[in-house]
């Protein structure tokens, strides 16, 4: 006897339920166990006390009435629904995302194949342009040389190339989305839950549907995962930054007859730039976090070493690679923060 038999008996839905116990679905583990127990102490009819009343979950109701689906049917349904749309989704997404694969492959090639001394010079030049600080340049130089000295140069460059591509794409897509959000309250209301979801979804969960959609050998698989995860801060902070621009300054722009485009490029973006750059900093740090996890789906780089450390219990390998990731994180953070500080200083927002 099932706990909720009375419900269907009382409401006269017994007929709709069909014969109880006549189930066609596969047997669950719980049912197997129940059968075993029943065999063990047969006859002990389940007397219904309020204390033992289980929550009316799908499985419980199904026991009483086989017309009600079980929870496993839900997960199964989800799976078959996804597999059903998979092919058509793949048909659309595959060509659209193909350039991402090329970009990632190209960047990997350039970062790894460029001679180390040329790469070092190029990176230091970028650091100098962003920060105008020789101190930071010296730090970055010695950190990279340290990584090279312990033979982690190639892994570090692979990680860096992936972050490079993904962060740029995040900015290219994220800033316009943020601007659109700042323009329309309606879009903001829709986007905020989506961004919340992207941000809180456990990082591994990103990978599950992507594995079904794309081949694990394709770089775009981890590219998409990283971009989806890391794009959130730049979108949020662009939206926030533009909304925080002094209303009176916007009014002045309107009063002097600026067009929407003039207002965007001459007022809103320059004044929101400190916030946008803070978003870029966060985006880069989140790409780095994701690129390590993406090594599960064949993303090259330091993450692979960490993964090896976990899989093979090679403690030293994992720890050293982890240290390398920390070094990269410090470099990226310091350089973007220095760039941010420079922007803040040059457009120091006035306070009335």
């Amino acid at each position: 006897m099932a706990a909720y038999d009375f419900l269907f008996d009382k409401t006269g839905l017994r007929d709709w339920c069909g014969e109880s116990g006549n189930q066609d679905g596969p047997m669950t583990m719980a049912e197997l166990l129940a059968r075993k127990n029943n065999n063990a102490d047969a006859g002990s009819e389940s007397s219904l006390s309020l204390w033992d009343l289980p929550f009316p979950s799908l499985d419980q109701l199904n026991e009483a009435c086989s017309s009600i689906a079980r929870t496993r049917d839900l997960t199964k349904g989800m799976e078959s629904a996804f597999l059903g749309v998979k092919d058509s989704l793949k048909f659309v997404l595959d060509p659209i995302t193909q350039p991402l694969s090329w970009l990632l492959e190209g960047a990997l090639y350039v970062f790894v194949e460029t001679p180390w001394w040329l790469m070092l010079i190029a990176l230091l030049a970028i650091v100098y342009l962003a920060s105008k600080s020789f101190k930071l340049m010296a730090f970055v130089g010695s950190a990279i040389m340290f990584l090279a000295f312990i033979d982690h140069y190639e892994y570090a460059m692979q990680t860096l190339s992936i972050i490079f591509v993904c962060a740029i794409l995040c900015v290219i897509f994220g800033v316009p989305i943020g601007i659109a959000m700042s323009r329309s309250n309606w879009l903001q209301r829709i986007m905020i839950p989506v961004l919340d979801m992207l941000q809180t979804l456990p990082t591994f969960v990103y990978l599950i549907p992507l594995i079904f959609l794309f081949s694990v050998t394709e770089p775009k698989l981890y590219g998409i995962a990283i971009i989806l995860y890391a794009i959130v801060p730049v979108v949020r902070l662009t939206d926030l930054g533009i909304r925080l621009v002094d209303r009176e300054v916007i009014e002045a722009a309107d009063a002097f007859g600026m067009t929407k485009r003039q207002k965007l490029y001459n007022v809103e973006i320059p004044l929101a730039l400190p916030n946008i750059m803070a978003g870029v900093n966060q985006t880069i740090m989140m790409s780095l976090a994701m690129v390590v996890i993406a090594s599960l789906v064949s993303a090259p780089g330091l993450g692979v070493l960490v993964l090896r450390g976990i899989r093979n219990l090679e403690l030293g390998v994992g720890l050293v690679a982890g240290l390398g990731i920390v070094l990269l994180a410090i470099i990226l953070d310091r350089v973007t923060k220095a760039a941010l500080a420079r922007i803040n200083a040059s457009s120091s927002v006035s306070s009335h």
Binding site: D246, E248, A255, F256, G257, M258, S350, H352
Partner: protein, 354 residues
């Protein structure tokens, strides 16, 4: 000489809330601001505003905070859309303008000065000053001459490469004024332009404005909550209360003949001797009386200056001169009476109020 109408406001209403258009009916039927807020949850911002502003005049719109004065001035260049009414600028109804025409008007016909300056913090003073021309598409090299000229005129020579955050409040507002002047627009809207400044700097800026206006003859609409400032600047004074024009006219006239207890309260504690001018209290010139005058005063002299001239002798009479002609007489007795605040002189007002 007939003055040209520059801006005319006709039957302007502004209601804030979810469905302002449907509330218009209630307002037309005489529902008060209070009732509208309580019964329908809409705020009556402006109600039946009719004002004519003439070219070359400074029109001051005065009221306390919440009276709708800043809302009103934003209707002139349609930063705020009215609920109903007409706004005529140089013979054209602004409300019929499409987006392009509206932008053209904002670029060419009107400039604006803001309470908190609203300068672009990421641009130099020179770039800020040239804003209006830059927006029109003029290159920096072309507007530079104009911008530098006006910066020098407002007393900021040599500071054109600074950024706004390097300047004090008074200097920032000078940039704000230079920015408005560099647009060369005939109409200048000034929204509480001097309210955020220290009293001393404020007086300075008022003098600067009057001096500039003497030579430029623009249409200036000045918003203020300060009666002394309003009386000093205004050719035409509009007093706003709860979105309604309580009284408008020549400031001297309002001072001598307030038609509302609200205004009486307002003007009761100002220094009338400094604000009232001889022409407002003089009697027409007659040869008989002119025989025993003890001197000449100008029509635009303040009563204060006449008192100082009389050295406190209340028995004297002066001939009033305007443009070298004898236009009237003023005797000290009338003058002293005019100094008594209206609330006491016309007891009826106070009674009406209580």
């Amino acid at each position: 000489m007939e003055k040209q109408k520059s801006i005319s406001i006709r039957n302007l209403y502004k209601i804030f809330g979810g469905n302002p258009a449907s509330m218009l009916e209630h307002v037309h039927q005489g529902m008060s601001k209070r009732e509208l807020l309580h019964q329908h949850d809409h705020v009556l911002g402006l109600s039946d505003i009719n004002i004519d502003m003439y070219a070359g005049d400074i029109t001051v719109i005065m009221g306390l905070s919440g009276s709708g004065k800043s809302t009103l001035v934003r209707h002139f260049n349609r930063l705020i859309e009215p609920t109903s009414g007409e706004i005529w600028v140089d013979g054209e109804n602004v409300l019929e303008f499409n987006e392009d025409r509206l932008r053209e008007m904002r670029r060419l016909q009107m400039s604006m000065v803001f309470q908190h300056f609203a300068l672009f913090p990421h641009r130099t003073v020179l770039e800020n000053t040239g804003l209006a021309q830059a927006v029109r598409g003029t290159s920096a090299a072309d507007y530079e001459k104009d911008a530098l000229k006006w910066l020098e005129r407002v007393g900021l020579k040599g500071q054109d490469q600074q950024y706004p955050h390097q300047m004090s409040g008074g200097m920032k507002q000078r940039v704000g004024i230079a920015r408005a002047l560099t647009s060369n627009a005939p109409i200048m809207l000034m929204d509480e332009a001097f309210s955020a400044l220290d009293p001393l700097i404020r007086t300075d800026m008022q003098d600067l404005l009057l001096e500039l206006q003497k030579e430029l003859q623009k249409t200036i609409v000045f918003i203020s909550h300060d009666l002394d400032e309003a009386l000093k600047l205004a050719d035409h004074l509009v007093i706003l209360k709860d979105g309604i024009v309580v009284q408008q006219g020549e400031p001297q006239d309002i001072l001598l003949h307030p038609n509302d207890p609200y205004i009486v309260d307002f003007i009761s504690d100002i220094n009338r001797a400094r604000v009232l001018r001889v022409r407002s209290i003089m009697t027409p010139f007659s040869e008989n009386a002119a025989a025993k005058t003890s001197g000449e005063v100008g029509a635009d002299d303040t009563l204060e200056s006449v008192i100082s001239k009389s050295e406190g002798d209340v028995g004297q009479t002066f001939t009033v001169m305007k443009d070298g002609q004898k236009v009237g007489l003023v005797d000290m007795k009338t003058l002293v009476q005019a100094l008594v605040p209206t609330s006491a002189a016309e007891g009826g007002m106070r009674k009406q109020k209580s």
